[in-house]
Structure formats: C-alpha cells, structure tokens
C-alpha cells in the first residue's frame, strides 16, 4: 500500500497515524504540507529517518521547493516529481491518504 500524508506534523497527527500503520512492503509519500515532516533538525524528521530503514519514504519535489525546503530534507527520503508520484500509485495495489 502507498500512504500519502499531506498535513504538517506540527499541526495534525496524520503523520503519526500513518507511521503507526505503515507496514513493511508499503511506502510513504509526503506531499503538500506533509513535506515539513522531512526537515532536518526536527522531531518528526527523526521518526522519518527511523522509518526509512524499513519503509521507503518519498517527498514530492515541487512541494519541497515551493516551501523553501530544498536541501533541508533528511537523508534517506527520496525526491519524486509528479511522474514519480504516478509511478508509485501504479506500483502499489492501493493508496491510503492520511488527511
């Protein structure tokens, strides 16, 4: 399953719920304000780093760039463009959006 998170981890608990339900074999894609979870030097980023050891974590590059976060994303999070987003949706049997 592909999980998408589009809310800031500082404002909602969508990321924490997602992380609690993302099993091995699934993937997580951070989009919109969800990309703030991957910012170096923050508490959510530590959780993301830990997660990347078992579940691949992606971030939508356009959303990272829009928010001035280029170069501040923790290692291990892979950048994807909109085409990559589509590929992920096609690759996994289902998508769960954590809104």
């Amino acid at each position: 399953m592909l999980h998408t998170v589009n809310k800031s981890p500082f404002e909602r608990n969508a990321l924490d719920s997602c992380l609690a339900h993302a099993k091995k074999g699934s993937a997580i894609l951070l989009i919109e304000d969800g990309v703030y979870a991957a910012l170096k030097g923050t508490a959510p980023a530590k959780k993301i780093e830990q997660t990347t050891k078992t579940v691949p974590v992606y971030a939508l590059q356009a959303d990272v760039e829009a928010r001035g976060m280029t170069g501040r994303v923790v290692d291990g999070v892979k950048m994807v463009d909109y085409g990559g987003f589509v590929d992920l949706v096609a690759e996994y049997p289902a998508v769960q959006s954590w809104l």
């Binding site: 800031s8 500082f10 404002e11 919109e32 304000d33 356009a62 760039e65």
Partner: protein, 135 residues
Amino acid sequence: MTESTGGIEMEEATSGVVKKFLYVNRKAPYGTIYALESLEVVLVAAAFDQDVSLAFLDDGVYQIVKGQHTKGIDVKNFSPTYRALEGYDIEKLYVEKESMEARGLKTEDFLVDVKVVSAAEMTDIMTGQDVVLSF
C-alpha cells in the same frame, strides 16, 4: 465601534484614530489559503494607516522562509510581498522562538528582518493590542 465592522470602517469615519492591529499567523503558506488571506488584510490595514504588527508562530513561521519556488506547484509565490511591507511602514514582525526552533529554523532562514521573541513575550505583545486578527 460595532462588532460587525471590526473597527475598520469606523477608523475611516473618524480619521486620525490609530489603533494597534496584530495579525497572528499560525499556518504554513501553501497548504491552506490562510497565509495569503492574512497578507491581503494586512495591506488593507496599512492603507488605513493603522499601527500594524505581525506575529508568526506555530507553522506560521514557514510563511517567511527564504527560497520559496512555487513554479512546480503552479501557485503564486507571495513570499516576496513580506519584503514589501516595509514600504507600507509595517516593520514590527515578531517570530516566536519556540516555534522557530521546533522547526529547525534560524533567523537567517527568514527573508525579512524579524524580532525573535519568547512565547511569554509574544503573550505580552498580544495583550497590548486593540484588535487581534487570527489566521
């Protein structure tokens, strides 16, 4: 002043009265419309020559981060507008230290000059206002 006007029309009728307006910004810039709407209303108050302050706390601190490039999401990048506020005599920009630090940000990450204040100092700033507008 009536509740419905929020004071703004009244100021026009009694020109010369200047009130202290605080805009409280707590949302990240592009996930919702709040940040842009706040900026629009800030400019309205500036046009009425009011005493305007801006507070950035919680995810609001993300609004003034340098290096925003929104071409990829096809949304207007309104961050340069914060730099234009100085031209409207809006120079009191406060960032809450706790919010900034929790998000791994430093003063040099902001595209405008701000005063970094503690949550306790922010409370005092809020308390000293005539009108508080929350976004």
